[in-house]
C-alpha cells in the first residue's frame, strides 16, 4: 500500500513549518534532503540505548553496536546490490569517497604521463581530487564535453581515451542540469578500453534504483545527507579485486592488523579504508534511510518526482524570458533557470522571503558555468515530498519578481 502525500509529509516534520509567516517550500533537496522521523529516531535511539565504540570492545554494548554497524553495511550492500559486504566502505560523504579513491587508486595505478578523464558537468568534488592526483603524479586531466541540451558527448569518449587513460570519473546525474547519464553504456565503452570507472551517484541514489553489478561500476560513491540520511555519512562502493590492490588512504585505529614501530600491517577490507572512529551511529541511520526509501518505493518516488518535474518545467516555461539550463529527455527533478538578466542571487533572495528555498550560484560547478557562459543559475531541486501546490508558489513567486524588474 503506497503512502499518501499527507502521510509522506508527516514523515518529515521540518516541512510543516512557516518561515517569514509563510509555509516553507523546500526546493533545495539537491544540496541536502530533509530527514524522515525514522532516521532521526534511529540516531536518537542508538544514543539512548547501545552507543559504544565499534569493533574490538569486549563488552555487551560494543557488541550490539558493532552488530548494528555491520548490519547497516549489509543493508547498503543490498540497497545497491553489491556482491560482497566488504565492498561497502563507510565514509564521511561522496567527497570523502572520491578523495579516497583519488589517493589510493592513484597511488596504486597512476604514474607520470597517465590520464584521468572527467566531464564538463562535474561537481567540484569530482574534479578537484583528480586535479590534485594529476599534480601529484604528473598525470593529465582530460575533459569529456557536453552538448547544447546538457548531455555528455559520449561519442567523443572513444577518441578521448588513450592507452594512458587509467580512470574515467563522471556523475550519474548532474547536480545542475539534472541530466541522467547512460551510466551502463558509458562504463561499457570505458571497460572496452581497459579504463576503470568511478560514478558519482550523489544526485541519483535517492531517485531511482541503483544496481552496481548491473552497471558494472568499478567505484560508485554517494553522500548520506542527500538521501534522507544524517550529514557526515557516505558510501564508497568498490570492486573487491581493485580495492584489495589499493593502499590505505588514512592511517589510524580500526584499519590496522599489527602495529609496531618498525612495521604496521593493515586490516582486511573494508576496515583497511575506515581509519579512526567513524560516524558509526550516522552510518546505521544511513542504512535506515535506505530502508525508508525502499518502504516508500522507487515506483512512487519516480512517479511523483517525474510528475513534479514535468509540471514545474511546463509552468516555468510559460514565463517570458525564462531559460532552463539542461533539457535532456532523461532528466532528474532538478531545474536550473534564469530569467532575462535578473541575477540568480536577486531571485534567490526574494524567493526566500516568500518562504521558498532554492539554491543560487554556480552549484560547485564553476567549469560548467564557464561552459554555459553564465555566472550562476537559480536551481529548484524537487523531492517526492514536494507538491504541485508548492510548484505553483514557486512559479507565482518568479512571476512576481519578474514584474518587479520590468
Amino acid at each position: 500500500m503506497q503512502k499518501s502525500i499527507e502521510e509522506i509529509r508527516k514523515d518529515f516534520p521540518i516541512l510543516n513549518q512557516k518561515i517569514y509567516g509563510k509555509p516553507l517550500v523546500y526546493f533545495d533537496n539537491g544540496a541536502t534532503s530533509q530527514k524522515p522521523l525514522c532516521v532521526i529516531d534511529t540516531e536518537n535511539e542508538i544514543y539512548k540505548t547501545i552507543n559504544s565504540n565499534i569493533h574490538r570492545g569486549v563488552h555487551f554494548l560494543s557488541g550490539e553496536m558493532t552488530n548494528a554497524y555491520e548490519k547497516a553495511r549489509q543493508t547498503i550492500q543490498n540497497f545497491i546490490n553489491a556482491q560482497l559486504s566488504e565492498e561497502i566502505i563507510f565514509t564521511k560523504g561522496a567527497t570523502d569517497s572520491i578523495n579516497l579513491v583519488a589517493f589510493s587508486f592513484g597511488e596504486a595505478f597512476v604514474n607520470e604521463g597517465d590520464e584521468i578523464i572527467v566531464t564538463e558537468m562535474e561537481h567540484h568534488a569530482n574534479i578537484v581530487p583528480w586535479q590534485m592526483l594529476c599534480l601529484r603524479k604528473k598525470a593529465k586531466l582530460k575533459v569529456l564535453p557536453i552538448d547544447e541540451i546538457g548531455e555528455l558527448k559520449i561519442n567523443e569518449l572513444e577518441n578521448l581515451i588513450s592507452e594512458r587513460t587509467k580512470l574515467l570519473a563522471f556523475a550519474h546525474t548532474s547536480n545542475v542540469l539534472g541530466t541522467i547519464n547512460p551510466v551502463k553504456k558509458i562504463i561499457k565503452k570505458a571497460h572496452s578500453k581497459n579504463v576503470k570507472v568511478l560514478v558519482d551517484g550523489s544526485q541519483a541514489i535517492l531517485h531511482s534504483s541503483v544496481d552496481v553489478q548491473d552497471l558494472d561500476a568499478d567505484f560508485y560513491v554517494f553522500s548520506g545527507h542527500k538521501m534522507y540520511a544524517p550529514t557526515g555519512t557516505g558510501i564508497l562502493y568498490g570492486k573487491k579485486e581493485i580495492l584489495c590492490q589499493m593502499p590505505p588512504y588514512q592511517g589510524g585505529g580500526d584499519m590496522v592488523d599489527v602495529v609496531s614501530f618498525q612495521e604496521t600491517t593493515y586490516a582486511e577490507l573494508p576496515f583497511k579504508f575506515e581509519a579512526g572512529t567513524s560516524n558509526f551511529v550516522g552510518s546505521v541511520a544511513l542504512a535506515r534511510a535506505a530502508e525508508y526509501i525502499k518502504e516508500i518505493g522507487f515506483e512512487l518516488i519516480t512517479t511523483r518526482e517525474n510528475g513534479l518535474l514535468i509540471y514545474a518545467t511546463h509552468e516555468l516555461k510559460q514565463i517570458k524570458g525564462l531559460k532552463i539550463f539542461g533539457e535532456s529527455q532523461k532528466k532528474s527533478s532538478i531545474i536550473s533557470f534564469l530569467v532575462d538578466n535578473i541575477h540568480a542571487y536577486d531571485m534567490g533572495l526574494m524567493l526566500d522571503k516568500m518562504g521558498i528555498a532554492v539554491r543560487t550560484g554556480s552549484h560547485c560547478a564553476q567549469p560548467l558555468m564557464q561552459r554555459l557562459g553564465i555566472d550562476g543559475t537559480v536551481r529548484a531541486s524537487l523531492a517526492f515530498y514536494n507538491t504541485p501546490e508548492e510548484v505553483d508558489l514557486l512559479v507565482n513567486g518568479v512571476k512576481r519578481i519578474v514584474k518587479l524588474f520590468h
Binding site: 517569514y20 535578473i342 541575477h343 540568480a344 542571487y345 536577486d346 533572495l349 526574494m350 522571503k353 516568500m354 543560487t360 550560484g361 554556480s362 555566472d375 550562476g376 512576481r400 518587479l404 524588474f405
Partner: protein, 140 residues
C-alpha cells in the same frame, strides 16, 4: 549629516515597509542612486570576492573626506551597497573607522551579514573600513 543621522534617516524610510518584497522594491529602486564606479576602475583589486554576486568598490580622497563609487551585477546587492555608500560617503576616515553600524540590523538586513556569505555586507564594510584606515594613515 553625521553617520548616525544618515543611519536614522534610512531606518525611518524603512519603517513604512512591513512586507519584505516592498523593502526589496525600495532597495532595487535605491540602487539607481549609487555613484557608479568608472568602468576602468572595475579592476580585480577593487572586486570584493565572493561566489554569489560581484561587487566593485573604489574610494578617493576629496576635501579630506572619503568619496565612494561602486557597482554590482546583482541589483539587490547594488542597492545595499548604495545604502552603505550613502552612510559613509563624504565622511572623514576617522569617523568611518569609529562608526557603529546599527541601521543594518534595524532595517532587517542583518541576515545578509552572515560571515559565510562572502559577498555579504560584512566584506563590503570591511573594505570600506580598510579604505578609511589606508587614508587615515596617509594623513598621518
Amino acid at each position: 549629516m553625521t553617520i548616525n543621522e544618515i543611519q536614522n534617516e534610512i531606518i525611518e524610510e524603512f519603517l513604512v515597509y512591513d512586507d519584505w518584497m516592498d523593502k526589496y522594491e525600495y532597495i532595487i529602486d535605491y540602487a539607481k542612486s549609487l555613484p557608479v564606479i568608472d568602468v576602468n576602475k572595475k579592476t580585480p583589486q577593487n572586486l570584493i570576492n565572493g561566489c554569489q554576486s560581484k561587487v566593485w568598490l573604489d574610494a578617493e580622497l576629496k576635501e579630506g573626506k572619503l568619496s565612494f563609487t561602486a557597482d554590482s551585477d546583482a541589483i539587490i546587492t547594488k542597492g545595499v551597497v548604495a545604502l552603505l555608500v550613502r552612510v559613509f560617503n563624504m565622511q572623514s576616515a576617522k569617523d568611518i573607522l569609529t562608526a557603529d553600524l546599527f541601521f543594518i540590523e534595524k532595517i532587517g538586513l542583518s541576515q545578509n551579514l552572515s560571515p559565510t556569505r562572502a559577498n555579504g555586507l560584512l566584506s563590503m564594510i570591511k573594505r570600506i573600513k580598510s579604505y578609511a584606515l589606508a587614508f587615515d594613515s596617509l594623513e598621518k
